[in-house]
């Protein structure tokens, strides 16, 4: 089988014998190079160790909600990646539609509401600082995405919130 990937903006083609299970050292052709992959210990479904050219690697796959690769960590280093082709069949990936309503603002990381400068029904100008969202030592000034009226406040000063918590809505 042939697989074509985009790895950090470089196209790489990999060829693997159909029969390969990697339970014995198995060669993968990569463009002009060759690498040998071997699965070490297995526990039930889970692979506990994996060798490339007899070198043990720490590997972490980052997949999208459909399970397709978005990237991979190899020994802590991250490589963006996407699948282009399997053998001759092209592979099209449908982007998930993100469900963000304009005017409603959510936290992008967990944190702590340090200060709030407006109350519901207050008028705000686009780019006004509505509140200070502190995550660890960083103070993030959360600004109004557009001018309008504060419809609702999702937080109070002193709240600890998780990521994508509704902070406020503007109408």
């Amino acid at each position: 089988m042939k697989y074509k990937f985009l790895v950090d903006k470089k196209v790489v083609e990999a060829e693997i014998a159909n029969s390969a299970t990697f339970h014995s050292p198995t060669e993968i052709k990569l463009d002009k190079n060759k690498l040998e992959i071997l699965i070490g210990e297995v526990q039930g479904e889970e692979v506990l160790s994996l060798f490339v050219d007899n070198k043990l690697h720490q590997v972490e796959f980052v997949r999208d909600e459909n399970g397709y690769p978005q990237g991979i960590y190899v020994d802590e280093e991250f490589y963006s990646a996407s699948l282009l082709k399997i053998d001759s069949l092209f592979y099209y990936k449908e982007k998930p539609v993100s469900a963000s309503k304009s005017g409603s603002v959510r936290s992008f990381i967990p944190g702590y509401i340090k200060k709030i400068y407006f109350r519901p029904q207050d008028k705000v100008e686009e780019n006004d600082i509505v509140l200070i969202h502190e995550a660890m030592k960083m103070e993030n000034e959360i600004r109004a995405p557009k001018s309008g009226v504060i419809k609702s406040m999702g937080v109070q000063e002193g709240d600890n919130i998780l990521a994508s918590h509704l902070l406020f809505e503007i109408e």
């Binding site: 089988m1 697989y3 990937f5 790895v7 950090d8 470089k10 790489v12 990999a14 693997i16 390969a20 299970t21 990697f22 993968i28 990569l30 190079n33 690498l35 992959i37 070490g40 479904e45 889970e46 692979v47 506990l48 160790s49 994996l50 490339v52 043990l56 690697h57 720490q58 590997v59 972490e60 796959f61 997949r63 459909n66 399970g67 397709y68 690769p69 991979i72 190899v74 020994d75 802590e76 280093e77 991250f78 490589y79 990646a81 699948l83 399997i86 990381i109 967990p110 944190g111 702590y112 200060k115 400068y117 600082i129 200070i132 995550a135 660890m136 030592k137 960083m138 002193g158 600890n160």
Partner: protein
Amino acid sequence: MKEKVLIPTRGVIALDIINSLNSMGMETLLMHSPEDALSLPVKLADRSFKFYSSRLEDSYLDSEAILEKAREVHADYIHPGYGFLAESPEFARLCRENNIRFIGPDARVLAQVEDKIKLRQTAAAVGLPVLKFSELIHSPLDCESCDEGFTYPLIIKPLKGSGGRGIRVADYRRDAQEQVANLLKREENARNGIFFEEFRPYAHHIEIPFFRDAKDNILFLPEIESSIQRRFQKIFQESPSPNVDETLRTSLYERSQALLKKIDYVGLGYVEFIVENNECLFSEINPTFQINTLISEVHLLSNFLKKQVVIARGELLHDVHGVRIVKPKHTVLLVSLMAEDPYNHFLPSTGQISHFFHYSTIRNVFKTTLYTGARVTPMYDPFIGKILTYAVERPNAINDMRIFLDNIIIRGIRTNLVFLKHLLENADLRSGGTIIDFLHLKFDFSKLKNTEEQSLVAAALLAADFHLDNRKKNYKGKLEKMKQPGFFKRIFSPY
């Protein structure tokens, strides 16, 4: 009867304090927020007491609650760590009034070092060249007058406060005005004011650690260079500094001595200088026990906290008469482990540690709050550990550090480990070219990835993953559309 020390602080510094005090045979009583109930300090302290809330004002900053507990348990001492109440003259005064020994300089000294502008004026008065500063700023309008004689970018600093909190860099006046406006929204800044300070990207940040007692006996330790910082947090520190020669060193000590005598500083502290070419400009004094105290302990070969306690007792440094300067036998390095994702703008990364492993080696110390199962919460500082190595030759210390970093595995959160590894391979760092704006001027963040060879390994693994998945599917006789591709578990860790 063991002496009791109340420790109302958290994180790595709490670990340092508990560990030192235990080895001194003192009883360690920790106060911790509910958020920190499962933290390592709670596990290592002799006894621990929970604040009723995790809000800073109701926990580590609640001097009332702390003093009440101190009275209740008959604490002999309070060690405030750093940050929080450690620099508060008010709190030091309250401790004295309650007949509890505050481990740190007394209220008088803390008040003197708290006001950064007054302190520089005092320093200038005794003949020290000081880092250029502006008039006090109380409104965005003040910027126009205050930035006179400064070139942008410049630094905006609160008059009081510590730990890099609230420090900003402004690139041009309008930027300065905006940032000043925002900074002044914070009540304490509005009250105390803020000021401008010159920004010297090519200079070095040098600290002189010292102990001084009431009889003007001073113990000086080798200078620490902590130029390399991110968001004004120290990332890489070393001692002695490769950028300080004997002449400069001597004058750093002499100037420090003159200033300390002038303000009659008693206790542990760090005199901070900005050094460029042969200029060394006084910046401020840090009056607290610090992360990098560990560096000085390696030079001193003894427990640093012991001396802090001696002075808190009102005694003299028994092994110092006049001025004693400790000469470095090693180059000591210290890097800061942060819960930040280097692949996502160094945003804080929080969660539970699913795997934690490190393999300790000789001439190396790793102090961290992490353990398998620990939680990193968004409540606090992303600082989660420090790693120290030392060797007679600087390059060996750097190599040892580099190798040790490979022997640390952390799963469950993202850390700056990769960043640190690349930092330690940076040619300018290895040649000693550590400067204040190092990360912008000398470090290539795009380098954070990808040797050619490694990306091939990545590709091979991706292919293997899909291939095994295909086989699985074929085996199950489902060839058509892959529903959930990927053979390997999402997180796959050999440790």
